[in-house]
Symmetry: D2
Subunit: 358 residues, 4 copies
């Protein structure tokens, strides 16, 4: 009921606040027999780390993940996998000024109204630090997906209105913006520097994809593959929009153009983004995610205090200019969680075959 768990078969519950002792996740439902080490998870964790990109904060977190349960002699056992990441570099005193003041664009005001109480240090539970648990869990999901031949990946399609024109997968790891277009990456850098000077921040668009997805994943009606993806992406703090395949552009096409013709060796186009009536068709999953600019800016803003009185606020400190590209790996992790869940759920549909084959 409290919304800290994602998935039905491959279930992930995250816990932890920005400035508490630790953050973490419990992964429940992972099948037995999968090789799992802290090192394998760490690879994905490192892509999310502060300081790992050109647009990110200088806060230092080693973000070392600890496996506390669910693995025996290097293999998953089918029992819950408890993952913990300690919080280290948290200067909580720098947040005292926000104790009685609501930061615009943050959850301060809505949390206060919801709970009547609020952990004001670094955003508490609403902090992006919560996503460390998601990424650790998403790495586990990724290992499961690997076993069935599915591979997810994300890149920066747009940052500060600069859009990638060429899509060169090789380029993604060669620039600090995870952009598939080196020329666009340079323009992104210029834009970031400009905005950093102003104490302002930027948004952008992430493209997330999955290859190797077998047909049949996703459940009709409410738990459609695209519906779960939309929820997964929109559950990331900074996300304001999600589209699948042609997305909003599909609204402007005619049916004869938008329908993907089915050929003997596959589909001719992929306007659907890999899903038909909420079930995967065998094509690649293609998702785009709109990321708003980071709300923490040093530009002065109007706000009110706990007492309801007008005030002005300036959020200094070590903040990213943009959630991109650190958020890319979170998007990828969430897509992993969605797909791992549906892989296991599809096993239920084919259960009789499974028992028959035993």
């Amino acid at each position: 009921m409290s919304g800290n768990t994602f998935g039905k078969a491959f279930r992930v519950t995250t816990w932890g606040e920005s400035h508490g002792p630790a953050v973490g996740a419990v992964v429940d439902g992972c099948p037995p027999g999968i090789p799992l080490t802290e090192e394998a998870i760490q690879v994905m964790m490192d892509r999310r780390k502060p300081g790992s990109s050109a647009a990110s904060t200088t806060r230092k977190e080693e973000d070392l993940v600890h496996i506390l349960s669910g693995v025996f002699e290097g293999l998953t056992t089918g029992t819950p996998i408890s993952l913990m990441i300690k919080n280290k570099d948290a200067k909580s005193s720098s947040y005292d000024q926000f104790k009685n003041l609501f930061r615009p664009g943050h959850g301060d005001l809505s949390y206060q109204r919801k709970y009547g109480i609020r952990d004001y240090k670094g955003g508490g539970r609403a902090s992006a630090r919560e996503t460390a648990g998601r990424v650790a869990a998403g790495a586990v999901a990724g290992l499961l997906l690997e076993r069935v031949g599915i591979k997810t990946f994300a890149y920066t399609l747009e940052l500060g209105s600069v859009r990638a024109k060429n899509i060169d997968p090789e380029a993604v790891s060669k620039n600090p913006f995870a952009c598939p277009d080196m020329e666009a990456a340079e323009k992104m850098e210029a834009r970031v520097n400009e905005v950093r000077k102003d104490g302002d921040s930027l948004g952008g668009i992430v493209q997330v994809q999955a290859a190797g997805v077998p047909a049949g994943l996703g459940e009709p009606v409410f738990d459609k593959l695209d519906a779960q993806i939309a929820k997964a992406m929109m559950s990331i703090g900074a996300v304001k929009g999600v589209e699948i395949g042609a997305g909003f552009e599909a609204a402007r096409l005619t049916g004869s153009v938008n329908n993907d013709p089915i050929l003997e060796d596959g589909f001719e186009t992929n306007n659907a983004g890999g899903t038909l009536s909420g079930v995967s068709s065998g094509q690649d999953i293609v998702v785009r995610v709109a990321v708003k600019p980071i709300p923490s800016i040093s530009v002065p803003q109007q706000t009110i205090g706990l007492d309801g009185k007008a005030d002005t606020i300036q959020v200094g400190g070590r903040h990213d200019i943009s959630a991109i590209p650190r958020v890319n790996v979170v998007c990828e992790a969430m897509l992993n969680l969605v797909l791992a869940d549906f892989v296991l759920r599809q096993a239920q549909v084919r259960a009789l075959e499974l028992f028959a084959k035993q």
Copy 2:
């Protein structure tokens, strides 16, 4: 696991196929003491009815809803409310040609791959007829929301690339496209007629809103208010994109422009679309939904058969030109379901007050 249930506290399970004996929904978790009649539900059902708009099929369904349980002497009792709508005007023989052929843009192929079996008549479970159950349940949710002062509504922002420029709420009921701009409505009509001649179809954009939403609804992390809304909307068959507030446009703004300043008497702007960190802020909820063109078109299309061999298909029959505006009421119903669920879930957060006040 099978995805036919939506919500956790206010739970709706829909059932039924396009050409089976009936479709319906079970609403579980509705609080006791709410006046509920078949007539009250029917008002919302009638807005979804085939033949109710200029862009819709001529299939005639009375779509009379029957309440089979959960109401005693005109009031809800707190027990499950079973709602049934009989299928009447279903000429299933007209679907025989699709038995061995996959219609492009439909779930035929993905369902076959998922289940190894498929009800090919009218799309079976994947038919838009399934949404009759959603609307009936959404009407019940609407009565609950009314009790706490929340009102949802939807209108056509765009149809066939024609966009409403004026937003005049009064206009919505005065044209057959549920468009808030009479001039745009005329252009929409022209566009629909043009496309009908071609045997083609159109998509568009629906704007869905909620007014009177108290602050505090929605659960942090995975079940954010906007995440559930995204899932709810994307679970509608024709939807390919969802955005909240400024949505994809937010990706191009700087933080200082996108952040909504907080004033003593409310917010200055509503780029957030009514939600901060996944919890309602007290502002109106504003959602836009991209609707793809109806995949059933009489233009010939390439496809394959059950045997994998290439073929050509022409989907005739009584089909809408566009899911809009019939889908508008479905969007509204889904927003009702999301909000009713969160109203009840927020009661849990405030549970100690309730027991203290008893």
Copy 3:
């Protein structure tokens, strides 16, 4: 949240009140490809029917089950199976005297306190009539279990303190008490007749078993096989106790006697009742269920009214002397639901095999 759904993978939601238009169930998660007809379900329904046993009411209900969805050309499709049974022979006027009076042993008082409102006709939702939906769903589950070689059955171990001494499976269908001991059955009849004269009622003990259960069903920790069985049985209105294998007797044994030695060809004894640490061991599941006497008796009883004032009540009408043996088939249906759910859940554990074998 409202507790009208049972199971996670094989999910059953029942709905309906004793004197509403109908009762029913929605079965969600049943795999595709299973032959399913109304006739097959009816066989199990008929065993639960009023008037079907020597200790039952004379209320006449045909209890014909209607399949409204989820079956296409005689096979399940993987979509929700909606089952409806109309209420026919309901003389609701005979319940007017209970409008303002709480019947002892019934849910009248607790429902009133819970909801502040109450459908007083025939117990409303708390009526044993609700179990019609369970049995219909349990019949579907039974067809699934049949496919994996599992067979459940129930018999009357004890009625009105008369206990079966011989366990002869053949005898069960040869006496009106579903007792496996013909001699005991005769004594039961004498006891029932005696108590009927007094206007009183009787309780007893049902034994429910499952044969052919493969090892590995059930989930460790909270959803243990025995824990789900205990919940399933105790969720039947009249049940006050549940024990597995040696049950309460195990509390008096030493470990060396209670442990079931493991031999090369199986276990030597079955004190465990078929489950070890909550997971099936391959032995038969053996459960005993304590059924309280029917609370509706024509003996005068002390009670209070809605106004809290003392009063006397006599519950006449067409009531069973004992819930046994009609409740036996409900116990069997519930065991079916538990096992079908775990069969599907086990498919998740073996999911990688399934994908590997594709």
Copy 4:
């Protein structure tokens, strides 16, 4: 799906194995504003500690609980409460002999069949050590219940066939068996010493109660108060039977004796055990739980190995003679979890009142 989570509104997920780095629990759904400290939880933890009773092992665990999230400045915030207890005194080498051998009465064989892999050290996930997380979570639930006036407690009704005759609540803390009858406690001690000499073990019966339970808790149909209690108790490894109120004895009473007459100032008797049709009536909840003898005994037993070959096993090491009385606090913790969950779920039923009162 994997059964490591209990509850719907007050949700508890436990994780951890006997010989892994730690065990723990995540409590999700606890309302904000409740004072919570590690010390308050520790009080309940200490009652479960090895070495805390006359019938227990000498394994030393400090069992210090750490709160990793969900508490800010001493108050719960409404976000997940992560609780961790490190494993310290685990000599895992002593378990090497069980690597290839199934211990009778343990989950070794069933786990192996379920997962195809097994953490054989100390029973892994099936170890009673898992209940440390339950008790920590149960302590949090207890603090919530305290706020609404509910108090749970457990005592030893029977141990090794010695039954308490007097029920003197004061006596419970005055003997090492948590027995409410000092005379019986002495006999229990004699029985324990006798069995210890034989290398054997004992079972018994725990009585668990709740006082101050308001009417209206529990959900009709499947999630009845007694059904959830039955599941909760049977989910404890050693439990083989559960009964409510008169329990199995009710099966032998007539309706006129078993029904509890309702008087102006309450009920005359409590055969129901505090629940009517699955909803609390305002009376005390009374539950009895059958606990089997500890399966780990040093008496030689027949078993088979991983290879299916017959063998003999002797389980030495530091084992309790009986799960009682350490299991008592686990029963109490589980009753806390059930009741806390229903308190929050009842808030949903009364949600409209809550919103009206705001």
